[in-house]
Subunit: 173 residues, 2 copies
Amino acid sequence: MKSFTILILAIAVGLTILAALPFAPGHAEDEATPIFGGKLPDGYRDWGLISVAHEEGSLNDLRAILGNDVAIKAYREGKLPFPDGTIIARVAWSYVPSEENNKVFGRRQSFVAGLPTNVQFMVKDSRKYASTGGWGFAQFNDGKPAAEVVPSACFSCHEPAKARDFVFTRYAP
Amino acid sequence: MKSFTILILAIAVGLTILAALPFAPGHAEDEATPIFGGKLPDGYRDWGLISVAHEEGSLNDLRAILGNDVAIKAYREGKLPFPDGTIIARVAWSYVPSEENNKVFGRRQSFVAGLPTNVQFMVKDSRKYASTGGWGFAQFNDGKPAAEVVPSACFSCHEPAKARDFVFTRYAP
């Protein structure tokens, strides 16, 4: 009976700790000013290609990293830090096998872009976003700003890439 | 001793058959006119993104399909067949894990573009390339036309996509 009481106490303590933890990523009031006025930037889908990637795991996507003219120029010139006005977009689609392509290749080897997932942006304004390395971060789900994504959480994951101005993606020639 | 003679004969016959087989894809004299005058078309790397893909197997690449303005417009308008002047480029890079990204995600899940492999093109000229569905095909290795790649061989693999004007890739929104 004594061990049962200890078990109950342990569960209660565990739940208390759990309740005290912030949801990741949390929502901070001071980060609520919407980037791009809460709208997808005009013509981002036409921007130049920086590189491509595949993320497995829960993301399970194929992604393209696009950049506006300022971004592409900075990348090609190897300019760091990226100048103000740089915008980098990450577009992504679900990772799906292509039966049609596999038939042609004669084996299961081809994976293509399925439905779009979400679109993320990094926008450089060294004054406005000084607290997050000069970068503003945003995510759009179905064309609408994702309220659950906050810049400070994005930034903390980007910090290991500090030597490249917090940008992981390299230009693919 | 008799079975040894039969074995030698069998090997000789095998080698003779092998020598008679053409290299795949073969080189046809009448297909030798170089596309784009044997040079990579200006600015193709800046073209708009049509979609992305991952090919496993011996290719083992991440690829982006880009299109010139004529191609992008036709895709967005769902225009088939593609008009003359359409050029579609397939750029590809080796598929490599990113240890740097994996560290951030806390698991092995990230694959990025490594070294470039080659660049392939489809160019629409319904008169010039009438014998291959109106499409000219080309591949460039290190910026130079790949002599071993002939349009008829490319076309035969593209035939299953006849309903979409022999183009496999769909536009990724």
